[in-house]
Symmetry: C2
Subunit: 219 residues, 2 copies
């Protein structure tokens, strides 16, 4: 399988970074191909506007979806975005690796979605959900959460995680056609022992091996 990891954490010694290194190692070990976009290391700019395009459909008024449609038809994306779109089209499995910030993705990752998931490349013309552009491909979120598992339970201050991830799972990954697998979640990695962190990394490797060994498994 071709696996594309989009990594969104600013600190190279973070547990997120350890998770991405474990994933790359486990996936290569199992014979898969891996591409990584380390958004902070790349200096990825998450702001979506005319900077996305080398083409101009309407110089007077910016309508992003119309500009995206035009750019998709005329090879009109700036090279840095086109490179991300190419990796997205290339992969069989997309992994979004991030810390949950304010119940969502860090802005650098949200903006990667805003800019890369463009009309004509990720959706458009009625292609969404089961008929999505990426139907047949797989995706999952691998994330760290500062708060405890209890805080994300029915009785906790944030409630269960599934509704919190619904915009990402359904509105983003599901919308463009991905089969979305269960997220791999580690709570409060900074507040657990080194050995427990190691156990999470072993579990993560096993989880990825299982998914990539039987990619058609139901999420």
């Amino acid at each position: 399988m071709r696996v594309f990891i989009v990594h969104a954490h600013p600190e190279p010694t973070s547990f997120n970074a350890a998770m991405t290194r474990a994933a790359v190692d486990a996936l290569l070990d199992a014979g898969h191909e891996v591409a990584v976009s380390d958004l902070y290391a790349m200096g990825f700019d998450p702001v979506s506007d005319r900077r996305n395009f080398v083409t101009v459909r309407d110089p007077h008024r910016l309508k992003l979806q119309a500009e995206e449609e035009f750019a998709s038809a005329h090879d009109g994306y700036v090279p840095k975005l086109q490179a991300e779109m190419d990796k997205l089209a290339w992969c069989d499995l997309l992994i979004l690796q991030f810390p949950l910030w304010w119940l969502g993705m860090p802005a650098i990752l949200k903006g990667w979605i805003d800019r890369v998931f463009a009309v004509g490349r990720a959706y458009g013309g009625g292609r969404h959900f089961a008929r999505g552009v990426f139907a047949g491909k797989h995706a999952l979120c691998a994330l760290t959460i500062g708060g405890s598992a209890e805080a994300y339970s029915d009785a906790g201050m944030y409630g269960p995680l599934a509704p919190i991830l619904f915009p990402i799972h359904h509105g983003i990954l599901g919308f463009v056609g991905f089969t979305v697998h269960e997220p791999f979640v580690v709570h409060a990695p900074a507040r657990i022992e080194e050995a427990a962190r190691g156990t999470h990394l072993v579990r993560y490797r096993e989880y990825l091996r299982a998914i990539t060994a039987a990619p058609a498994a139901r999420p």
Copy 2:
């Protein structure tokens, strides 16, 4: 009342821009003070990392919350962030004005949250929800949505809007203590007649007048 509008749309002739202009006009007309952060016009950088700080707590390993705690205690934010924090502390009512992109905020606004809502300035030390730093202040989202109201109903492809906005309403605004009012939502402003857009703007002015006339009203 002091009202702070954080505006996140790249196009000055957009309906989002018309909403912000209508809000400023209605609020000034009613005798309130208004501040606007037009994030695109300001060239706001939404990426959170060491660029947030002029202070350094740990030069070897970036832990954002620890750096925020240190910066909050030592006046350590870059001036552009401090200015946003000052407006946030100043206001009685915060309005987030944005188009819903991928069931969430545009990255430029998510990053404004990521960077401005810092430990020691927006939360920390057990100050959250009812005991939040901004308890007693009010907030609301004013947003446009490309899809129809039907698409955001029980039978629609995205389901109801309330769960989609839960991370913003509960996890962000509610967490830091704001009383969160009902969102003001306009669906598919590009696909309705000019007169209908005008009616929405009139309704929005009336909504803001009602909230600012009776700010303690329950959301």
